[in-house]
C-alpha cells in the first residue's frame, strides 16, 4: 500500500492505495486540493519508491517551489529518487513532432524510457494538458504504456475536472481506475468549505462518502463541520441530539426541579447526505451563555430548540437568537413537544422570537427520529444554500 499522507483517507481506504493500481485525484475548479497528490508523492518517496512526475504545465523549478510553499521542507525532491518530465519537455515534443500521432509516440517513448532507466515504481501525472492534447484514451495509453512490463507501476493522476460526474464515470468504466477521489468545494466564501468524496474503490466495497477538509500546516485534515443545537433549558436539546445521532454522548445532572439537565456539551455524530456531521448541544441555563460564542464561531449552522408549550421561555430563546444572528450563520427553529397539549400557534412563536417567515420553523417531537431528521435535512439544505 502507498499512503496518501492523509490519515483519515488512508483509514477509509484500508491503509492507502494498493501498489500497481490506478488512482485519480479529480479536482473541481477552484478547490485547493493539490496537497493530495503532493502528500502521496511525499509518502512514496519516504518509502524509497522511485517516482516519475509528469508536469506538462509547469517547470521542475516552479514545481519544487510550489511544493516547498505548500508542503514545507518535508518533501525532498532533490536527493530522493524522482525524475521529471515537465513543460519544457512538452514544448520540445510539440516543436519536434509534426503530428498528434508523432507527439503521442514521443511522449510514450519518453515515459517508457524514464520508467526503465529509473526503475520507476510510481508515476504521478498532472493530466489536464495530456488529456487536452491527445484525448482521454490516447493520453491514458501514453501513461499505460510504461505499465505494461513485468513491474507493477502504480499510477496516480491529478486532473482538473471541468466535466463533472460523467468524466469520473469514464475513468471508472472505460479506464478501469481503482480509486477515484473527487475533491470538491461548496464555493461559499465564508466559511469556505472543501470536501473530498470517495467515489470508487476497486479493491473494497466502500460506500460513497464525503468528508470536508481543511488545509492547515501543509496538511490535508478531514474536517467535521459543526452544527450547534441550542435553546432554553428543558426544551429537549439532549433528546434532539440523541435522536439525531448515530452515536453520541450527553453529560447530565439532576436539576433542582428533579429533571435531568445538561451541564456540559452534548455531542452527537451522524452521517447525512454523505457528510459526517458533529452536533454540539449546549446547556440551556444562562450561566452557560459564555460557552455559546466560542461554539458558534466555527459552526456552520444552528438548530434552536424551544418548548412549544412554554411561552415564558420564549424571551430566553429570543436572546439566544440575538447571539446566533451576530455570527451570520443559518439557523432554524425546532418547536419541540408538539405532541403535548397547549402547543402555541406558529404566529405567536414567530412574534415572540422576532423572526420572519424566512426562518424555517418546524413543530416536532424530539422523541421521533423522523421529526428530528426533517429538521436536520432542512438545516443542511440551508447551509448549502445560505447566502453570506
Amino acid at each position: 500500500m502507498i499512503s496518501t499522507g492523509v490519515s483519515g483517507l488512508d483509514e477509509m481506504l484500508g491503509s492507502g492505495i494498493p501498489r500497481g493500481s490506478k488512482a485519480l485525484y479529480s479536482l473541481e475548479p477552484g478547490v485547493n486540493g493539490q496537497l493530495f497528490m503532493i502528500s502521496t508523492l511525499s509518502c512514496a518517496l519516504a518509502r524509497g519508491l522511485s517516482c516519475l512526475v509528469i508536469l506538462p504545465n509547469t517547470t521542475v523549478g516552479a514545481f519544487r517551489n510550489d511544493v516547498a510553499a505548500m508542503y514545507g521542507a518535508r518533501l525532498d525532491l532533490v536527493s530522493k529518487p524522482v525524475v521529471f518530465i515537465d513543460a519544457i519537455d512538452r514544448e520540445r515534443i510539440q516543436k519536434s513532432a509534426r503530428s498528434d500521432e508523432a507527439r503521442a509516440r514521443e511522449w510514450q517513448e519518453r515515459v517508457r524510457k524514464a520508467c526503465e532507466d529509473h526503475k520507476v515504481d510510481v508515476i504521478f501525472a498532472y493530466f489536464d494538458l495530456l488529456y487536452e492534447d491527445f484525448s482521454l484514451e490516447k493520453a491514458m495509453k501514453i501513461l499505460d504504456s510504461a505499465r505494461g512490463g513485468g513491474k507493477k507501476v502504480t499510477l496516480i493522476v491529478e486532473h482538473l475536472n471541468l466535466e463533472g460526474a460523467p468524466l469520473l464515470e469514464r475513468f471508472i468504466r472505460e479506464l478501469s481506475f481503482d480509486l477515484v477521489l473527487a475533491i470538491r468545494s461548496s464555493f461559499r466564501p465564508v466559511p469556505h468549505f472543501n470536501y473530498f468524496t470517495l467515489v470508487h474503490t476497486s479493491w473494497a466495497p466502500l460506500p460513497v462518502r464525503s468528508v470536508p477538509f481543511i488545509i492547515a500546516d501543509g496538511r490535508v485534515i478531514p474536517y467535521i463541520p459543526r452544527i450547534v443545537v441550542t435553546g432554553p433549558s428543558n426544551s429537549g436539546k439532549s433528546t434532539f441530539v440523541t435522536n439525531a445521532s448515530d452515536e453520541g454522548h450527553s453529560i447530565d445532572r439532576r436539576g433542582s426541579d428533579g429533571d435531568k439537565t445538561t451541564v456540559a456539551m452534548d455531542f452527537g455524530w451522524l452521517r447525512w447526505k454523505d457528510f459526517d456531521i458533529t452536533l454540539y448541544g449546549t446547556p440551556g441555563h444562562t450561566r452557560f451563555d459564555p460557552l455559546l460564542p466560542p461554539y458558534l464561531r466555527h459552526a456552520m449552522g444552528v438548530i434552536l430548540v424551544i418548548d412549544a408549550t412554554k411561552p415564558d421561555k420564549l424571551p430566553r430563546a429570543r436572546h439566544l437568537i440575538e447571539m446566533i444572528t451576530k455570527r451570520k450563520i443559518p439557523y432554524i427553529v425546532a418547536a419541540n413537544k408538539n405532541d403535548l397539549p397547549d402547543v402555541l400557534e406558529e404566529a405567536e412563536i414567530r412574534k415572540a422570537l422576532g423572526i420572519g417567515g424566512d426562518i424555517p420553523l418546524f413543530f416536532i417531537s424530539a422523541q421521533k427520529r423522523s421529526d428530528v431528521q426533517l429538521v436536520l435535512e432542512s438545516l443542511v439544505d440551508s447551509i448549502m444554500q445560505f447566502s453570506y
Binding site: P29, G30, V31, N57, A62, D128, L160, R188, V190, H192
Partner: protein, 235 residues
C-alpha cells in the same frame, strides 16, 4: 442589490452602473487601449475590492497601473500568470499570487478562490475595512492569451465555472478578448457566458465604444478617451 458604478457619468446616470453578478465581455481590436478601459472599469471604488488575472503583464505592473488610475493598492489583488515562468521562486502574498503559466487553470482557479476567501475573511487589506459583503470587481486580461494556451472548449468550461462564481458572490467580471484574432464561433461561445458586451473600435485615431446588455443604455457608438483610470465620453 449592490450596483457597481462604471465611472462613466453618462452611463451611470442612466443605468445606475452594473448590477451585481454581471459578466462583461470587452471586445476590442489590438492597440485600442482596451486594457486601460478594462482597468478603469475594474478600479475599486471606496469599500470595493478588485482582482486582476493577468496573463500579459506582471503583477507589479498591474498594481502600478491601478495606482496611477487612483486605486488603493490595499484593495487590489493580482493573479499573475507571467512572472513565475522566469522567477520560479517568487512567493505569494495576500494580494499578489502567482501561477506557473496561463496553461495552469488548476492554479488560476485555486488562487482565485484563495483571494476571494481572504477578502471575505477581512484579511486582504492589512486591516483596512471595506464593505461587507464585499463588492468585488474581477478582470481577466486576457481571454485572448488564455485561448493561445488552452482549447476553446476547455476554456469555455473553465470560464463557465468562473462566471458562475462571480455571480454567486455578486461581483462583476470584465473579460478582455481581442475581436480580430478569433473566429465567429469563438466569439459567440464566449459571449454566451456574458450578460453585457462592450465593443471598442478605432476610426481615424478616435476610440469608440458601444454597450449592449446594460439596461437603459443605447447600443450606439460613443467616442471616448481614458486617462488615469477615468473614462470620458466625448461629444
Amino acid at each position: 442589490m449592490y450596483s457597481y458604478k462604471t465611472g462613466i457619468a453618462q452611463i451611470d446616470q442612466i443605468s445606475g452602473g452594473f448590477e451585481a453578478g454581471t459578466n462583461i465581455l470587452l471586445l476590442a481590436p489590438p492597440m485600442s487601449y482596451a486594457d486601460q478601459l478594462a482597468y478603469a472599469l475594474t478600479k475599486p471604488l471606496q469599500g470595493e475590492y478588485a482582482i486582476v488575472l493577468s496573463t500579459n503583464e506582471r503583477a507589479a505592473e498591474v498594481i502600478d497601473a491601478f495606482k496611477l488610475a487612483g486605486a488603493d493598492k490595499h484593495f487590489t489583488g493580482v493573479i499573475d500568470a507571467i512572472t513565475k515562468s522566469s522567477t520560479p521562486s517568487i512567493a505569494d502574498t495576500q494580494r499578489m499570487m502567482f501561477v506557473s503559466s496561463p496553461t495552469d487553470l488548476t492554479g488560476i482557479g485555486i488562487k482565485f478562490s484563495n483571494m476571494i476567501e481572504t477578502i471575505f475573511e477581512g484579511e486582504f487589506s492589512d486591516g483596512e475595512a471595506g464593505l461587507f459583503p464585499p463588492p468585488i470587481r474581477f478582470c481577466v486580461n486576457s481571454i485572448s492569451t488564455l485561448l493561445m494556451y488552452r482549447r476553446l472548449e476547455v476554456l469555455y468550461q473553465f470560464l463557465h465555472v468562473l462566471t458562475a462564481k462571480l455571480k454567486k458572490i455578486e461581483g462583476v467580471g470584465i473579460y478582455l478578448l481581442n475581436s480580430e484574432s478569433f473566429d465567429d464561433k469563438t466569439l459567440s461561445l464566449i459571449k454566451q457566458l456574458m450578460n453585457c458586451v462592450i465593443e471598442i473600435k478605432i476610426e481615424q485615431n478616435v476610440s469608440y465604444l458601444r454597450v449592449q446588455g446594460l439596461q437603459g443604455v443605447s447600443g450606439d457608438w460613443m467616442k471616448f478617451s481614458v486617462s488615469k483610470g477615468q473614462v470620458t465620453i466625448l461629444p
